[in-house]
């Protein structure tokens, strides 16, 4: 519960008196948390966002605590295969009804293993493959099956915005076609497959398109502040570097998963001068920054972005100092969400290592992402073009009409 002013302290007390059992439950959960947190093995954390797990697997830096996590992952691996076959089984049993064992989740996991592939693209590829292998005999059946498949994918990880947005967009893109009115089912299905594959292709190419658009904004002698590990931003900077642009990059450390370390490593290999900052040094260095580049987990309807924790405060600082904030995001991350404030989103919980045991009775904010409102963003580089934040809603409305 989120209270604004002191008057609610009173309210809360009244509430507590009115419903003591509720409060007790709260307390007990509070008691349990400290027990969980100092534990370096997150394997018992069932609430952990799968999205961030995937990301950690893909872009982890090999450090001592990462090794520790990897150790932990060995124990976790025992649990994971348990979950996956379960989902696969549900998918399989559904597919078995139609005579063939095809699981979206398996397909999705196959694509997801590729480190360069975004989760949403993996989902899109999986769905495209699903249409191909589907044995539905009517359009309606196919559509329902597709819907089911996309729902299972979405429920696989509810915290990933791009996954659900990618699935939704795929559904819209593929099914919003006159093909559904074709007389011949096979022709219609072919059309759907064609559209699905086209969408997958577009999504695959999105990053390159964005890099082409974005690198124009990097000028010689510029200093760029980067937050988090975004493959799109890396692609933009790579292209800019290969175009012999002279620029300097400041990377934030990106606690707790230290994504900045990996990012700076990549850039250093390209020969770009990099400087690493701790996350709290953003305001200190902002005066020498010419522009801020960030990626996005999701782009919401207001034109704001949901991204790794810390993006909001960087955007605020940049806005204060009149520095442009550029967001690089593929259009399949456009989600029909409209958070009104930071707490208006389901949190994506992520384990945080402090290195030392946390004193009992101390809460830890473990949310992995925040929401940056559109007024603090300058431009969005997407595969649809370079957009102002207000165009996002335009595109979404056109898509979901």
């Amino acid at each position: 519960m989120w209270r604004r002013s002191a008057s609610f302290v009173l309210d809360k007390r009244q509430l507590a008196q009115a419903s003591p059992p509720h409060q007790q439950i709260l307390l007990s959960s509070d008691d349990m948390e400290p027990n969980n947190l100092p534990n370096p093995n997150p394997s018992t954390d069932h609430g952990i966002s799968a999205y961030y797990q995937t990301r950690a697997e893909h872009h982890a830096v090999v450090t001592s605590d990462w090794l520790a996590q990897a150790q932990a992952a060995v124990t976790r691996n025992a649990a994971v295969p348990e979950v996956l076959p379960k989902i696969a089984a549900t998918g399989g049993s559904r597919a078995a009804g139609s005579g063939k064992a095809f699981s979206v989740i398996d397909e999705f996991n196959y694509w997801r293993k590729k480190p360069d592939l975004a989760e949403a693209v993996a989902a899109i590829m999986a769905l495209a493959a699903f249409i191909r292998s589907s044995e539905a005999t009517t359009m309606m059946e196919l559509e329902i099956e597709l819907k089911k498949a996309s729902d299972t994918l979405k429920s696989w990880d509810t915290t990933s915005i791009s996954l659900s947005a990618g699935c939704d967009l795929f559904m819209r893109y593929v099914t919003r076609t006159s093909a559904l009115e074709y007389e011949d089912f096979n022709a219609a299905k072919l059309r759907l497959i064609e559209r699905g594959e086209k969408f997958g292709e577009i999504s695959l190419k999105a990053r390159r398109t964005i890099a082409m658009l974005g690198q124009d904004f990097v000028f010689d002698g510029s200093t760029i502040l980067v937050h988090g590990y975004s493959r799109v931003v890396l692609e933009v900077l790579k292209l800019a570097a290969s175009n012999r642009k002279m620029f300097r990059v400041l990377c934030t450390e990106g606690r707790p998963d230290r994504t900045g370390l990996r990012f700076s490593n990549e850039l250093a290999q390209l020969g770009v001068p990099v400087k690493l900052l701790i996350d709290s040094a953003v305001a200190y260095t902002m005066d020498e920054v010419d522009m801020v580049f960030v990626g996005a987990d999701g782009v919401v309807e207001s034109g704001g972005i949901i991204n790794m924790m810390g993006t909001y405060q960087i955007a605020l600082v940049a806005h204060c100092m009149n520095k442009p904030v550029y967001v690089a995001a593929e259009s399949y991350k456009f989600a029909r969400l409209y958070p009104l404030d930071q707490k208006d989103l389901a949190p994506a919980i992520r384990p945080i290592e402090f290195g030392v045991p946390i004193p009992s009775g101390v809460e830890v904010e473990r949310n992995a992402r925040d929401y940056t409102p559109p007024q603090y963003l300058t431009l969005l580089f997407t595969d649809l073009g370079v957009l102002t934040p207000s165009v996002v809603s335009d595109e979404l409305i056109q898509l979901y009409l």
Binding site: M1, R4, S7, E301, S302, Y338, L340, S393, I397
Partner: protein, 682 residues
């Protein structure tokens, strides 16, 4: 083709003419020789147009006002950059030099070099022997069009003529000599026609062409100034000569000055009103009719009540007799302000004389005046239901056309309702929808069929745009209410009320702060309803808004309409609430059905507003001694202002909840664009 541009240009002339034309120009009857000019040639069949800009050019030429600079794409689209522009500029200027028969012959020279049929299409008028009154304007338009279509030889012939035009323009009023010279030089240029690029054209011209060229290649600013001067000169000359030469059908070479003055006086009338190709003419007329109708639908932005003449006129037509209040605030004199309480008895007494107003419409009008029906949705619903009744009872004599008669009927109803109370934007949209449906009725339909279609349309509108839309809005908005929230509402919006009730049904735990204001105290009704439902409420007046805002986590507001720049037009006080909420970083949600969106812009609350009864803000409950200003109307120094609406800038609005989803205020034009294209909103 650019489908979005076309209709707009077709509608434009009326708008663009304002201010630069002598109004009320009689339309001279033209001889048959004048037919298919630009309109005929270009709109006759779109299939022959190779470039997308051509129709624009032709329509645009008709509608250009003298000062309007043609969009650059006309000029740069094809192979004649500078020249095209020059010609286009010329067309906007009222300096004309008449064309002699000689010249016409000269023009025919290149005919053989390109597709004759297409040429004929455009210039049949030119070829007819009786077309004696052709001027450079039309000629250059023709050439401009054709130059665009076939950037071949005639393009090359074009620079010559446009240069001549420039000269003629610079020559100002003395067209007498100019016309002769023009003709001569054109004759010379045309044989020299080659496929050369326009810019490098003509060395073998007479000496007048040279300077013209060089002048033309100077800055366009100078050019424009010259054009303006020429135009001014032409205007003054025209004034001096009066309208004398208007109907002179003499050949222009015979009386060039006259003809010129004549044209100077009414620059584009021959383009607009000459008996063109009948198809285009009727088409245009239809367009204009549509345009007119559409204008009428709007809640009267045009009638400025400080304009005495128009108000007098409006009064003579008026059914409802309105006393005007005397002491009015200077800034708001353009809005109607009446003495309240006077109309109702008058209207009652006139009941049996108003036979052209359907009783149900009459009843709704009375409800508007008395204030028993208020609130955007309720008023709109009542109005539509009244129209539904009227259409049900409608019958027509067989010789009349259903469409026209019904439209005029609806128009008279609407003007009656406007007299009762100014229309709101959503009512304007509803009326526009209804009229569109009427206009789209098929001619062969029988009366009962037509009535059935319209009635079901009205039912569908009420159902889809109001009832279902509200349900969808509720389902969207409820998602934004979390347990423990404190919602602030202002006044009494039916949608917001339904949202709250629904959230309660879902078992959400929240509190309500109801902010109210004088003089209507609409919040009390809401308070009563919510308290009866068992919701914990806080009731306060708007004076305490900055205090109470500390506690609030969400602000839910209704709106009368949302305009294209995201401005929210709503019950007065809304802007204040939204501003305070913004200052406290509390999200402001505007709940509004999409049929209340309008493409107009509003920057302040002054231009378009409604004045309520000034007496109600001066009356205080509780005894006579509390009313020191009881006789305020006698005091010259006292003006009262009771505004009904205000405009909330989009900066203060976090989100607009419509049936199409939750959108940021910047996306209002998107909704308007997307749904108007499909004719779904209006």
């Amino acid at each position: 083709m650019d489908s979005r541009r076309l209709p707009r240009t077709a509608v434009d002339p009326k708008v663009r003419r304002v201010g630069f034309f002598t109004s009320g120009e009689p339309l001279p009857a033209r001889s048959q020789s004048f037919p298919a000019e630009t309109g005929g040639s270009t709109t006759a069949d779109g299939g022959m147009m190779s470039s997308t800009t051509t129709p624009d050019l032709s329509v645009g030429v008709i509608s250009f006002s003298p000062v309007m600079i043609p969009p650059p794409r006309y000029a740069s689209a094809d192979g004649l950059p500078a020249l095209g522009r020059a010609a286009a500029t010329v067309t906007t200027v009222s300096a004309y030099s008449p064309l002699s028969p000689l010249r016409r012959d000269a023009i025919q020279l290149p005919v053989g070099s390109f597709n004759p049929s297409e040429y004929m299409q455009g210039t049949s008028a030119m070829l007819s022997p009786s077309s004696s009154r052709f001027d450079d304007l039309d000629f250059s338009e023709e050439v401009a069009c054709y130059g665009k279509k076939w950037p071949g030889k005639e393009v090359a012939s074009f620079p010559g003529s446009s240069d001549e035009m420039m000269m003629a323009v610079r020559g100002g009023g003395n067209a007498l000599s100019m016309s002769a010279l023009t003709t001569a030089s054109v004759v010379k240029t045309l044989p020299g026609v080659t496929a050369k690029d326009g810019g490098t054209f003509i060395e073998s011209q007479n000496e007048r062409v040279g300077p013209a060229r060089s002048q033309k290649q100077k800055t366009t600013k100078a050019e424009r100034r010259a054009l303006q001067e020429a135009q001014r000169a032409a205007k003054s000359a025209a004034k001096a000569a009066g309208e004398g030469g208007k109907h002179s059908a003499a050949s222009s070479s015979g009386a060039p000055t006259n003809a010129k003055l004549d044209k100077g006086a009414r620059p584009h009338s021959q383009n607009k009103d000459g008996p063109e190709d009948t198809a285009t003419a009727s088409e245009k007329r239809a367009d204009r009719n549509l345009d007119k109708d559409r204008k009428k639908d709007f809640p009267h932005p045009s009638l400025q009540f400080d304009d005495k003449n128009r108000v007098e006129k409006a009064k003579r037509r008026a059914v409802v007799y309105q006393f005007e209040a005397r002491n009015r605030v200077e800034l708001f004199r353009h809005l109607p302000q009446y003495e309240y309480g006077s109309q109702l008895p008058y209207l009652e007494s006139k009941f049996f004389h108003l036979d052209h107003i359907h009783p149900s419409v009459y009843q709704v009008g009375m409800q508007y005046i008395s204030g028993s029906t208020s609130g955007g949705n309720a008023r709109c619903k009542e109005m539509l239901l009244a129209f539904r009744m009227a259409i049900m009872d409608y019958s027509i004599s067989p010789e009349k056309s259903v469409v026209r008669d019904l439209i005029s009927k609806i128009n008279s109803y609407v003007s009656f309702l406007i007299e009762c109370r100014p229309l709101s934007v959503n009512m304007g949209n509803a009326i526009r929808f209804l009229k569109n449906r009427i206009l789209k009725l098929h001619h062969n339909l029988s009366e009962s069929e037509a009535k059935y279609i319209l009635i079901s349309d009205i039912d569908r509108f009420i159902n889809e745009k109001i009832i279902v839309a509200d349900k969808v809005i509720i389902s969207h908005a409820v998602a934004k209410i979390r347990d423990g929230d404190v919602l602030l509402v202002y006044g009494h919006s039916t949608v917001v009320e339904m949202i709250i009730v629904h959230a309660l049904e879902l078992g959400k735990q929240f509190r309500i702060v109801i902010v109210d204001s004088r003089p209507k105290f609409e919040g009390r009704r809401l308070l009563r309803k919510l308290v009866m439902k068992g919701i914990s409420c806080t009731y306060t007046h708007i004076n305490a808004i900055s205090y109470i805002m500390h506690d609030v986590t969400r602000v839910f507001l209704g709106a009368s309409s949302v305009l294209s720049n995201g401005t929210v037009y709503a019950r007065v006080g809304t802007a204040c609430v939204a501003m305070v909420a913004h200052a406290f970083q509390v999200p402001v949600l505007i709940c509004c059905e999409a049929y209340k969106f309008h493409e107009r812009f509003l920057l302040d609350s002054i231009c378009s507003n409604e004045l309520g009864d000034p007496d109600v803000i001066i009356n205080v409950h509780g005894g006579k001694d509390l009313n020191p200003l009881a006789k305020w109307a006698d005091n010259e120094n006292l003006q009262l202002l009771n505004l009904v609406y205000d405009a909330t800038p989009s900066d203060y609005v976090s989100m607009i909840v419509t049936e199409h989803g939750m959108i940021p205020p910047t996306s209002v034009p998107v909704i308007i664009r997307e749904y108007e294209r499909d004719q779904l909103v209006f």
